[in-house]
């Protein structure tokens, strides 16, 4: 892993640490009486705060996961570096698109 990717990996980890803690707390809160779509959507619908929170989360996790998968593919597979890079850029973009779509789904719809 080069220095630039190393710094992105650590920076996104530092950004996500508090987000993950809040998300785990939300998981526990959301499952207190069993999880329902009405409960989830009543909390998130029209909420700028949740949109910003999960939007930042999606951005950070897309970068973090793509770099992590890149490290694994580089070390554990014989794939050439250029192919690995293409795969993980695609993976990161798919995560970002699906993630932002999910945020929009629970905040806007």
């Amino acid at each position: 892993m080069n220095v630039r990717l190393y710094l992105w990996q650590r920076a996104t980890a530092a950004v996500m640490a508090p987000l993950v803690m809040v998300h785990i707390a939300v998981i526990f809160y959301a499952t207190r009486h069993g999880m329902s779509a009405a409960d989830i959507l009543s909390r998130t619908h029209g909420s700028f705060a949740w949109a910003a929170f999960y939007g930042l989360f999606v951005l950070a996790v897309s970068i973090h996961a793509a770099i992590g998968v890149r490290n694994i593919l580089t070390e554990w597979t014989p794939l050439p570096e250029r192919r690995v890079d293409a795969c993980v850029v695609f993976f990161g973009l798919v995560l970002a698109v699906l993630g932002f779509r999910a945020v929009a789904a629970v905040v806007l719809w």
């Binding site: 650590r10 993950v20 009405a38 992590g68 995560l95 719809w109």
Partner: protein, 117 residues
């Protein structure tokens, strides 16, 4: 050929901690697209998301969710351990810290188990 000497480091608790961090991260990376697709069901309406959530009430799915909560927590704590080691002047107690991360994750996952069953 892999010699005993070459894999001796695998007996180390810190090697195990690094491997747990890697495997949990990989598992979470594979789970994330499914998680996002599930939440995206809300685009088709609340009823569609609700229908999926009721499907996820099955014991096997709940068991998988408990596993995910464990992986999520252990990856968080393992990541915090790495950030602390790399950014602070702290060299002692790393094995204890790794063990603590695993133990805390097990407690969080167990608390989730009690909650969902």
């Amino acid at each position: 050929m892999v010699t005993g000497r070459a894999i001796k480091h695998r007996d180390s608790a810190l090697w195990l901690a690094a491997m747990v961090h890697r495997i949990s991260g990989l598992a979470l990376a594979l789970f994330l697209p499914l998680h996002f697709l599930t939440l995206g069901l809300a685009i088709e309406g609340e009823a569609r998301l609700e229908s999926f959530l009721r499907w996820s009430d099955q014991p096997l799915v709940k068991a998988a969710e408990i596993g995910l909560v464990f992986l999520f927590t252990v990856h968080l704590l393992g990541g915090l351990r790495i950030l602390v080691i790399e950014n602070f002047d702290w060299r002692d107690g790393q094995k204890q810290l790794a063990t603590l991360a695993a133990a805390l994750s097990a407690i969080v996952a167990f608390a989730f188990l009690v909650r969902v069953f």
